[in-house]
C-alpha cells in the first residue's frame, strides 16, 4: 500500500526546496555571520541618518544668497547668530520647550491612573476595553485626529453649537496655545500609558498590600511605594512624550492654525516657504541638540528608566 500523501505534506517539500536554495546561496560555514547580517538593515538606516545630519551640518554654515536663491559657497556662523538673536526663533523655541514640558507633565498625570486601572483591574472586560480605547487612536492617525478636533471645537463646531443652544455666543476654542497643548496631550496619552503599564505590572500587588498592613492608606501607599517603584516607567514615558511633543508638527500646524508654530513648523517654513535650507538645517540641528541635552539631563538625574538597556545586574 502507498503511504498516505499527507504524511509528508506539500508545505514541507516547499520548505525543503527553500532550504536547499538557501544552503546553495549561503553555505553553512558562513552561519556565524548570520546575526550580524540581520543587524545590517538597522545599521544602514542609522548610517543614512548620520549621513543626512552631516549634510545638514554642512548646509547650516551656508547662508542663502538672496540674488540667486542658492546657498553660499563660503561658510559662516550667520545662521546660528540669527537663530539665537531673532525674536521669532526665540518665541517659537520657548513655546515648543515650555509646551513640551507642560504636555509631558499633564500627560503623565492623566496616563498614570489609566494604566494603573488597566494593569490592576480584576475585570478582564474592563481591561480589554481600556486596551482597545488605547489603540484606537493609533489606527486613526495624527492629521485626521487633529481635523476631528477642528470639527468639534471649531467656531461652528459641536461644542459651540451646544453652547449656542444655551445662549452663549461662540467662543474661540481653536488656534491658541491651550488648544495645541490639549491636542498634544490627547495625542501623547496612549504612548505614555503604554510606556507606564509594564513598569506598573512589575510592581507586585503584595507590595501595596504590605504598605496597607503597615499602616499606609492608599494615598500614602501611592506616594511612598507605587510612585518610587514606578519611577522607571515615568522616566521612560516622560522622555518619549517630551521628545515627541517637542518635535511635533501636525498638531501645532492644524490646531494652532499658523499662529502657534513649534520648532518643526519653523523648520518646515525655512525649507519649503523661504527656501532657506541653511537656516532650516541650523534650526533642525539646534532642535536635535536641545532634545539630546534634555534627554541627557534626565538620564543624568534619574537614570534611563525603562529605556535603560543591556543586561540587568
Amino acid at each position: 500500500m502507498r503511504p498516505s500523501r499527507t504524511s509528508y505534506p506539500l508545505s514541507w517539500r516547499l520548505m525543503d526546496a527553500l532550504e536547499a536554495i538557501a544552503a546553495a546561496v549561503w553555505p553553512r560555514s558562513f552561519s556565524a555571520a548570520v546575526p550580524w547580517l540581520m543587524l545590517l538593515p538597522a545599521v544602514v538606516l542609522v548610517g543614512l541618518l548620520v549621513l543626512g545630519l552631516w549634510d545638514m551640518a554642512d548646509g547650516s554654515f551656508r547662508t542663502l544668497d538672496t540674488a540667486t536663491f542658492l546657498p553660499s559657497d563660503d561658510y559662516s556662523l550667520t545662521n546660528y547668530h540669527r537663530a539665537f538673536t531673532e525674536k521669532l526663533f526665540f518665541t517659537v523655541a520657548s513655546r515648543s520647550l515650555i509646551g513640551s514640558l507642560i504636555v509631558t507633565a499633564v500627560t503623565l498625570i492623566f496616563a498614570f491612573p489609566y494604566s494603573y486601572v488597566m494593569v490592576r483591574t480584576r475585570s478582564t472586560v474592563l481591561r480589554k476595553f481600556l486596551l482597545i480605547a488605547l489603540f484606537l487612536p493609533f489606527f486613526i492617525g495624527q492629521v485626521v485626529r487633529a481635523y476631528g478636533w477642528l470639527i468639534i471645537l471649531g467656531s461652528q463646531g459641536m461644542v459651540n453649537e451646544a453652547l449656542g443652544l444655551v445662549g452663549v455666543s461662540p467662543i474661540r476654542l481653536l488656534y491658541n496655545y491651550p488648544a495645541v497643548l490639549f491636542g498634544l496631550v490627547q495625542y501623547m496619552l496612549p504612548f505614555a500609558v503604554l510606556m507606564l503599564a509594564p513598569a506598573l505590572t512589575a510592581i507586585p500587588e503584595e507590595m501595596e498590600s504590605a504598605a496597607g498592613s503597615l499602616g499606609a492608606n492608599w494615598v500614602r501607599t501611592f506616594i511612598h511605594v507605587v510612585l518610587p517603584l514606578a519611577k522607571p516607567g515615568f522616566i521612560g514615558a516622560g522622555l518619549v512624550v517630551m521628545t515627541l511633543s517637542l518635535t511635533d508638527f501636525a498638531i501645532p500646524a492644524i490646531l494652532g492654525g499658523g499662529s502657534q508654530d513649534f520648532i518643526a513648523n519653523a523648520i518646515y517654513d525655512q525649507f519649503f516657504r523661504t527656501s532657506d535650507q541653511g537656516m532650516g538645517a541650523t534650526l533642525a540641528l539646534l532642535l536635535v541638540a536641545v532634545g539630546s541635552i534634555m534627554v541627557g539631563v534626565v538620564f543624568a538625574l534619574f537614570g534611563a528608566g525603562t529605556l535603560a538597556i543591556g543586561r540587568s545586574k
Partner: protein, 370 residues
C-alpha cells in the same frame, strides 16, 4: 480573680462562620475558631487548601463572603487593613526595594505617626532583636535571603501590633536556615508575647513552633488542637495522613468490642478514632504510624507487642539517624507498610527481600471510616 479575667477577656482573634467564594471557587468554608492572646497558632494544609485566603481575611484584604472576623472582641469587617493593628510577613516578603533595611523597618512607624524623635531608636532596637543591628543601611538586594526574612519580621513587629501574621515566609529558604528561623520566630514571639498566626505546609515547622495547630483541607478546618494532640489524636484520616508518615490498612469491620474494632483481616484490630462507631461489615481503615511499628528478623526480637505480622522487605532507605523500610505484608493488602527503624546501637540492616516480623500495639491503630 485571674480566672474570671481570663474568661472575660476577649479572644485575640475569633473567626465565626467565615466563607470566601471567588467566582465559583469556594476557597474557605465555614471557618470558625478562637485564638487566645499571646498564643502561636499555625495553619497547616496542602497547597490550595485556603490558608492564605483565611489569613488575608484576618488581615483585612478581601472581605469574607459571609461570616465575621473579630479582633480583640470587635468585629472588623469594615475596618481597612491600615487601620488594623496587624503585622504581616508575606509569602514573598514584599520588602520595599527602594528603601534600606532600616527605612523598611521605619516605614510602619512613619505611616502610623509615631513620634519622629523616637523612631531611630526603636528601629535600631528591632533590628537588634532580629540580629541585624549592623546592617540597617544596606539595601534589600544587598541582603541574603535569611537576612531579608529578618527585616520583614522586624518591619511587621516594630509597631507592636496586636497580631502577627506569617504567610509561609520560610518556604523559600533551605532546610537548615528554615529550621533556624523557625526557632527564631519562636524566640521573638515569646520575647514579645505577641499573638501569632503562622501559615505553612511544612508539618515539622507546625509541630516545632506552635501552641496550636489548625489543619485545613479543601477550605475546611479539619482539626484545631495542640501539636501533640494533632499528632497523637488526629481527628480523621486526612489529618493522620498529612502529619507524620502513616500507613493505612483498608478493610471491613468484623466485630466491635468496646473501644476495640476487629477487622475482617485475621489478627488485625484497632482502636476507635474520633468517635467512629461503625456497624459490623462497614468499610474502615486503620491508621498506623511508621514509627509505631517495630521490625525484627524474627517474632521473638520484637519484644512486648500485641499484634505481629510476617512480611518481606521490598525497600530499605538509609536516612542517617534512621532506616526507612517498606515491608510488604501479604495479610494486610497490596500497599507495603512503611516502618521507621531507629536503632543506633545494633545497626541491624534488613536486606531487601529478607523475611521480617512486624509488631505493634492495637492501641496505636486508629480506625476511621473515611
Amino acid at each position: 480573680m485571674t480566672e474570671t479575667m481570663a474568661a472575660d477577656a476577649p479572644f485575640a482573634v475569633s473567626v465565626r462562620g467565615v466563607n470566601m467564594v471567588f467566582d465559583g471557587v469556594h476557597a474557605v468554608r465555614d471557618a470558625t475558631f478562637d485564638l487566645e492572646k499571646g498564643r502561636f497558632l499555625t495553619i497547616l494544609g496542602p497547597s490550595g487548601s485556603g490558608k492564605t485566603t483565611l489569613l488575608r481575611m484576618i488581615a483585612g484584604f478581601g472581605r469574607p463572603t459571609s461570616g465575621e472576623v473579630f479582633i480583640n472582641g470587635l468585629a472588623v469587617g469594615s475596618v481597612p487593613p491600615h487601620k488594623r493593628s496587624i503585622g504581616m510577613v508575606f509569602q514573598k516578603l514584599a520588602l520595599f526595594p527602594h528603601m534600606t533595611a532600616a527605612e523598611n523597618v521605619a516605614f510602619p512607624l512613619k505611616m502610623r505617626r509615631f513620634d519622629a524623635r523616637s523612631i531611630p531608636d526603636r528601629v535600631q532596637r528591632y533590628l537588634d532583636l532580629v540580629k541585624l543591628g549592623k546592617l540597617g543601611d544596606r539595601r534589600i538586594h544587598e541582603l541574603s535571603g535569611g537576612q531579608q526574612q529578618r527585616v520583614a519580621i522586624a518591619r511587621a513587629l516594630v509597631f507592636e501590633p496586636d497580631l502577627l501574621l506569617l504567610d509561609e515566609p520560610l518556604a523559600a529558604l533551605d532546610r537548615k536556615l528554615r529550621e533556624e528561623m523557625q526557632l527564631e520566630f519562636r524566640r521573638i514571639q515569646r520575647e514579645l508575647d505577641v499573638t501569632t498566626i503562622n501559615v505553612t505546609h511544612d508539618q515539622r515547622e507546625a509541630l516545632v513552633v506552635s501552641d496550636e495547630i489548625i489543619v485545613m483541607d479543601h477550605g475546611r478546618i479539619q482539626q484545631k488542637a495542640r501539636p501533640e494532640a494533632t499528632y497523637r489524636q488526629p481527628k480523621n484520616a486526612f489529618v493522620a495522613n498529612f502529619i507524620g508518615v502513616t500507613n493505612f490498612i483498608e478493610g471491613a469491620v468484623a466485630s466491635i468490642d468496646g473501644e476495640k474494632i476487629v477487622f475482617d483481616r485475621p489478627g488485625f484490630a484497632g482502636r476507635v478514632g474520633n468517635g467512629f462507631r461503625p456497624a459490623a461489615g462497614a468499610a474502615a481503615r486503620g491508621a498506623l504510624r511508621a514509627e509505631q511499628i517495630r521490625i525484627g528478623s524474627g517474632r521473638e526480637a520484637l519484644g512486648d507487642v500485641d499484634t505481629i505480622f510476617d512480611g518481606t522487605v521490598t525497600d530499605a532507605i538509609f536516612e542517617g539517624e534512621r532506616v526507612v523500610y517498606e515491608v510488604s505484608v501479604k495479610d494486610l493488602g497490596e500497599t507495603p507498610l512503611r516502618v521507621f527503624d531507629h536503632d543506633p546501637v545494633t545497626h541491624n540492616q534488613h536486606d531487601i527481600g529478607s523475611s521480617v516480623a512486624l509488631g505493634w500495639n492495637v492501641k496505636d491503630v486508629l480506625v476511621f471510616g473515611d
